[in-house]
């Protein structure tokens, strides 16, 4: 037990070191950002690389040993650098102390802290001390992790329930991302595999502190992140929704962060390209963890058009940039192709298999019946009722509307305009169309449970947007008043 804990701790620490190295050398982030984004970057790079190797039939014990050596080497290399000399460590500690204690605390901030501390404590303790025993985390994600750690390859999963039409697609219903990460912990002898996500949550807490220096604004972010039920459910279930929401949040925070930096001083073209690459990297991370909802496509197009439009001002070749973006997309597409072909081979190309997987939203034939919904007025009524009542995102969106109303003017940033509408429409259309329309028209109530998970990217976006609005609305209203005067 103690040995397993030690091996796991070194592994998790090594991921931070490895990610820090990549952030410094590849993405050229400054020191604080390199540090707070170290764990997400390290985990994603290791996860995606390990997944690729595993798909190429490399035995998992070799993958595990190889990456363990890599993270140990990263730690060793970092320990030789100035970042971790005793003097620098003291400086880091001072900076961290300043980050936490510099706040001017009013009554509201103290009240919020009293809510947030137990909320964070409960989630961290939950991930630290409990086993993933909720249905799908037990039967699918953690089972796959254990099996991968024991040497199963992709084909082994396909063969297990051969000919079992209703079950054959279960193991393939979501990408193996979360399971690959958890497999590393099982291989280290640590069964409470939810622990792998704790450091990512802490990374988001620290990253938000860098973005929003006002304590009250930062605490609002933490409230939305830890003291609301929809996200608390996500953090304690250890489903694929957990890593997926973490990547979404990181991406939205990164977008806000780069926008804010751009406002202070124009970004240099080189750093803009690196930022574009990091955004695309995070989008691949989204696909890697959960792909059932095609929201990532909106994000991909959004990043593509806006970043390339922005970069075109620097006289970059648009074609070169497009090539970079599509190359980034090609990698996950190649994976999917291989993944699907092995899956279909394993279940003897049973047509019902694709409908049992969560990839059904990519079956374009399902969208052919779109005209049906125009003939059913009650469908729209039910759809909107479910959206407003059952959808966990609706409370967050309500708060955004309230803040926009409060600011007395529409905040017309591109993020608000396009993502809001895009995600909302995509979400509704997804649920309207991926299931057989005729069968599901009267079944909107049952869609509430699925809607919860499908809405999580909207929830993640809302949390970031609410915080950003809290930060900018006072400035907007005061500017508005000055103009009126």
């Amino acid at each position: 037990m103690l040995v397993a804990a030690l091996v796991t701790f070194i592994w998790l620490l090594g991921i931070v070191g490895f990610g820090f190295l990549i952030n410094q050398k590849m993405f050229r982030f400054n020191l604080p950002r390199s540090f707070v984004l170290a764990y997400p970057t390290g985990l994603l790079v290791i996860g995606i690389s390990a997944w690729s190797l595993w798909l190429a039939n490399v035995p998992f014990h070799l993958i595990y040993s190889g990456f363990y050596i890599v993270v140990l080497a990263s730690l060793f290399w970092l320990s030789k650098q100035n970042h971790f000399s005793i003097r620098t460590r003291l400086m880091w500690f001072e900076q961290l102390k300043k980050l936490v204690t510099k706040a001017e605390m009013g009554y509201l901030e103290i009240i919020m802290l009293l809510i947030i501390f137990p909320a964070i404590g409960l989630i961290v303790l939950w991930l630290l001390l409990t086993y993933p025993v909720v249905w799908d985390s037990l039967a699918l994600y953690d089972f796959r992790a254990k099996a991968i750690a024991d040497g199963w390859q992709l084909a082994d999963f396909g063969q297990q329930f051969l000919g079992h039409a209703r079950f054959a697609g279960y193991d393939f219903s979501h990408p193996f991302g979360a399971s690959i990460w958890q497999a590393f912990l099982h291989k280290s002898g640590w069964e409470r595999s939810g622990i792998v996500y704790i450091a990512w949550l802490i990374s988001l807490v620290l990253y938000a502190r860098i973005i929003w220096s006002k304590t009250g604004v930062w605490l609002i972010f933490l409230m939305m992140l830890f003291a609301t039920k929809p996200l608390q459910v996500v953090w304690t279930q250890v489903y694929t929704s957990l890593p997926n929401t973490l990547v979404w949040l990181t991406l939205f925070l990164f977008i806000i962060d780069t926008q804010k930096q751009g406002l202070i001083k124009p970004l240099r073209p080189a750093s803009s390209i690196i930022n574009l690459t990091y955004k695309l990297f995070l989008i691949v991370g989204i696909i890697f963890t959960r792909v059932s909802e095609p929201f990532w496509l909106i994000m991909f197009l959004w990043v593509l058009f806006f970043d390339i439009y922005y970069l075109s001002a620097y006289k970059f070749s648009k074609y070169k940039l497009l090539a970079v973006a599509f190359f980034s997309l090609a990698i996950p597409l190649i994976w999917f192709n291989q993944w699907q072909s092995i899956q279909l081979e394993a279940v003897i190309i049973n047509p019902s298999t694709t409908s049992t997987t969560s990839l059904s939203s990519y079956d374009w034939s399902k969208y052919a019946g779109i005209s049906t919904i125009f003939n059913h007025s009650e469908w729209w009524l039910q759809a909107m009722t479910v959206w407003l009542v059952k959808n966990p995102a609706s409370s967050y969106l309500g708060l955004i509307t309230l803040l926009l109303f409060y600011s007395r003017r529409c905040v017309t940033s591109s993020l608000v305009k396009w993502l809001f509408l895009g995600l909302l429409m995509m979400g509704t259309l997804y649920f309207a169309l991926v299931f057989e329309i005729s069968r599901e028209i009267a079944d909107w109530a049952n869609k509430g449970r699925l809607l919860e998970r499908a809405s999580l990217p909207i929830v993640a976006w809302s949390v970031v947007m609410i915080t950003e609005l809290v930060a900018v609305v006072p400035e907007l209203t005061s500017r508005h008043k000055k103009l009126e005067e």
């Binding site: 409960l122 039967a139 953690d142 079950f167 309230l402």
Partner: protein, 172 residues
Amino acid sequence: MTIKGKPFTVILVVLLYWLLSFAPSWLDHSFIKTLELLRTIGQSKDESLVVMHPARKIQSLIDMKNYLINQNDYSLSDIAIFAPERSSSSPLTTDPSILRAISYPVPVVRDNMKPGPFSLVVITQESVGQNFKSLQAKFCKSSEISVMNCSCLENISWLPANNQEVLCWLLP
């Protein structure tokens, strides 16, 4: 951050909204999660499973796994637990997915996944439906099966290969 300034008002508005829209459901869920956490701290995974899924069948599946792991007559690779049909799109207590997650590393299979005969086939009522009439866990030797003398089975035609022994495991 000043108390009288605009940021204070905006934060107050958000806090009030949180109090009305998020706080009740969050507090309710936190209470449930805290209770579950307190009940599962320090327990083994199997004990946590029983706490989180209090159906008696889960305990019985854990007993079955422990029985199979601790027996000395067969190696685990020679055992096949037969998976039941999936009756719902959501995992149930006796769903193949739950069965294999709990019984791991004892293999769970369906139909003819593994080549060749198994030394021991484990079945439950859910695996074989109406073909099961045992009132208790029971071994059937291969010789008994061949002459239809195995009291826990009514029909053995579904068995994938001959010359195996059968363990009928009764779930509560």
